[in-house]
Amino acid sequence: MDSDSPSLINPALVRRQRAGAWRRVLPWLAPGLFLGLFFFYPLGSILWLGLHSALLGGIVASVFLPTVQVFLFTVYQALLSTLLTLALGLPSAFLFARYAFRGKSFLRLLTAIPFMLPTVVVAAGFNALLGGRGWINLGAMNLFHLTTPPITFVGTLGAILLAHVFYNTTIVIRLVGNALSHLDPRLEQAARTLGADSRRVFWNVTLPLLRVPILAASLLVFLFDFTSFGVILLLGGPHFSTLEVAIYEQATQLLNLPLAALLSFVQLCCTLVFSILYSRLVTRRGVSSTPRPADTKGRPARTWRERFFVGGIVVLLFLMFVLPLVSLPLRSVTRLEADRGQHTAVQYGLTGAYYLDLFQNPSETIFYVPPFAAIGNSLLYATVTVVLSLLLGFPAASALARPTRLERVLDPFFLLPLGASAVTLGLGFIITFNRPPLLLVTSPVLVPLAHTLVALPFVIRILQPALASIPDRLRQAAASLGAPAFRVWLTVDWPIVRRATLSAAVFAFTISLGEFGASSLVVRPEYPTLPIAIARFLSQPGASNYGQAMAMATILMAVCAAGIVLIERLRLPGAGEF
């Protein structure tokens, strides 16, 4: 044995090192077990079932053809949606990055709100504006004495595309607009002194410099459109089937779990490819230039052409984002038509009836669950989700905040649930936990578990930077002053991470409240959540059902909007965008 390496055989040190290793692994135990049992195990079941049915059963032509059709339509609508989103988002990004105008910060917030709104709320909003019982149709019918709604919106491809643009424009505005405001203005000025007019400056300098952020935004938008579920189910109607909707239909209506699993497998592969492409693009960062402070002020429009551009985009964004969000709450307190059975005079005017109806059980049936019960369920699930995701997120985020090799390997695994679609998560649950000892399908406990799975990556991503921002010196200083471990945490960590914790809690709460994809598979009919109840009421005929759907969607929107505003307020300066 070397004389100068006695430490290698020092038993006390070995023991300490072993204890250190344990301490490193300990924080991973709970979140690791959770992810293993509720994410990787169900995912494995899907893969096994999907591949098994494909290989053993053979890919029958009767299955193959519809799958290809569904896949092609999924890509088609996602491509179209992405192009339209870029068409609105790119000019808007220029508007926000380059020009100063009245109401700019309000308009920016307005465009950001939909991204975090539950799909049912968005679907209900567009329904209230353009649907058969919406403002525009009823208004036109009244005005021109028509007997049928002049505009068919729900059940068209246009409805899907419009809702997708509504959802994702903010991604383009943020990613491209951010890059634009960090762009060195002297590059464009240099081009002008070299003889380039404004058109050539744009095509030869500005656009090439924005290539990477535009590509990144497009990929992200495409990914969201590709995995979109609620919008297509609620606004597209039965004619349009994307992979997500097909998985849902096969699993819940046709009870063909193997085919659902196969579709899920295809879906997973696609999202995996897109996610890898995206993260590659983002880490490469394209052309590097010296970082400079963002110029977010912009300047007022000067020429007539500029004024026309600014005015046009502002009006367009305002119509696009205000109308659906405003028509929903207004519709929920307005009676615009004759209720069923009242063929006599049509009543107009304000009414609180739809809200009062939420507490009643008109048909007196046992199976009918009054809407207020759904609100109660949702609040309960959301509370459990907050507690679970914080309990699991804190140890994981603390470990990730101080990454060693172990953490670097584990880090991406905690983001994986982001890549899997919510419907896939739900499907995994119902094919995994449907037999003892894990017969959970019949109990409502799966719902908060699924919501936690969806919320956990966000919670970790919010907590991690806050925890990482605490210098170790502070803790050491506190410890050297005689504070025991818990006191150190309470006096040093907690005051710093308090805001992030609250932000994460609100995030988890709003995610759980609005979650629709996984819920639509795992929610028990006798314990519906608010989004499930809204979707159910929207699909049923009758003015009262419609009004109650509007009322519930308005409540959900109000709670989520409050959450979004709270999170914006709590956002740490300099936190990342996506």
Binding site: Q189, T193, D197, P208
Partner: protein, 342 residues
């Protein structure tokens, strides 16, 4: 060629350029010398057409350029930290202006290789500009501005970010390129060494106006004001009062001085005492005789073949033999080292 007439520009409410006027002749290099924040860059941006003045004219060959946008002026501008297009190669950067002129491809290639040779970057054409060193980026910026054969070249502190050796080297190179190309140039800097090396004519910018202009030796020989003398570091600026005997009394001694304009008795006078040419006198008791200064040495710095000696009263002189720090010395100044500032 270029004529700037009575230019006014305000920045956040306060005046930056206050009725500034100057002209640049064919083949002439004019250096605008002024401290940071004196509006030099803004002036270049106005000439380039990137900003508009509140008042005044920028004329080229007698024609007012007010309505002419930047891309039609044909003025090249080399930016402070180069502003090279990071998405283009060296060659593509240099070719940019030529492409905007829609010249045929063969001509573009010829001109690019010629200009790259001119700035000693012939074998670098295919490189991305972000891989280049500061000096190389500077050359690319110069080549890019030169390539489209501009009617006027402008430089906005182009050597500011480079280390001293490279700066001196590039200064000489730039000088020969400017002389060879015969393009009129406006060069903006806060560094007098750069200005004196490159300029045919130096313009001193102070409080938004040009307070002195002339060839470098003229400006150095007669800075024209106390501020200019201090800014250029020409020598010691001392306040005094005209005495009845035609001499000026100051806190550090009495000096005989020839003034261009006559002064009345009791009138305050600003003197410039140049630091070179003073010789030490043996210390004898009593007040310093006329034309002499004395003081305690506080600092001695070796300054290229001579020593810069600072005294406790704030004066400095260049001496061939270094005194000791703390020593009391007396220096006699030659009459040529004493001047009167208006």
């Amino acid at each position: 060629m270029l004529e700037v007439i009575d230019l006014w520009k305000f920045y956040e409410g306060s005046p930056l350029l206050c009725g500034l006027s100057f002209h640049v002749a064919q083949g002439e290099t004019v250096c605008l010398l002024g401290p940071s924040g004196s509006g030099k860059s803004t002036l270049l941006r106005i000439i380039a057409g990137l900003e508009t003045p509140e008042r005044g004219q920028v004329c080229w060959e007698g024609r007012d350029l007010a309505g002419v946008p930047a891309h039609q002026r044909g003025f090249g501008l080399v930016f402070q930290d180069y502003a090279l297009f990071p998405h283009l190669t060296v060659e593509q950067n240099v070719a940019f202006g030529l492409k905007m002129q829609s010249r045929p491809a063969s001509e573009v290639a010829d001109r690019v290789s010629k200009v790259l040779a001119q700035v000693n970057l012939s074998d670098m054409g295919g490189r991305t500009v972000t891989d280049l060193s500061g000096g190389e980026q500077q050359r690319v910026a110069l080549a890019r501005a030169l390539a489209p054969e501009p009617r006027l070249l402008m430089f906005d502190e182009p050597l500011g970010a480079l280390d001293r050796n490279l700066r001196e080297h590039l200064m000489v190179e730039l000088r020969s390129i400017l002389r060879a190309s015969r393009v009129p140039a406006v060069y903006v800097t806060h560094d007098q060494e750069e200005a004196f090396t490159l300029a045919d004519r130096v313009l001193l910018l102070h409080e938004g106006q040009i307070i002195r202009s002339g060839a470098p030796p003229e400006v150095w020989g007669d800075p024209g004001s106390a501020w200019a003398a201090r800014f250029l570091g020409v020598g010691n600026v001392v306040e005094g009062v005209m005495r009845g005997d035609g001499r000026v009394a100051t806190s550090i001694g009495v000096f005989a001085v020839k003034c261009s304009s006559p002064h009345r008795v009791g009138e305050p006078v600003t003197l410039l005492l140049r630091p070179a040419g003073a010789w030490p006198l043996p210390l004898k008791g009593g007040a310093a005789p006329e034309g002499c200064v004395s003081g305690t040495v506080t600092d001695v710095v070796f300054h290229l073949e001579r020593f810069k000696v600072s005294l406790s009263n704030g004066l400095f002189f260049y001496l061939a033999d270094p005194p000791r720090v703390g020593e009391e010395i007396r220096l006699e100044l030659p009459p040529s080292a004493i001047a009167c500032l208006p």
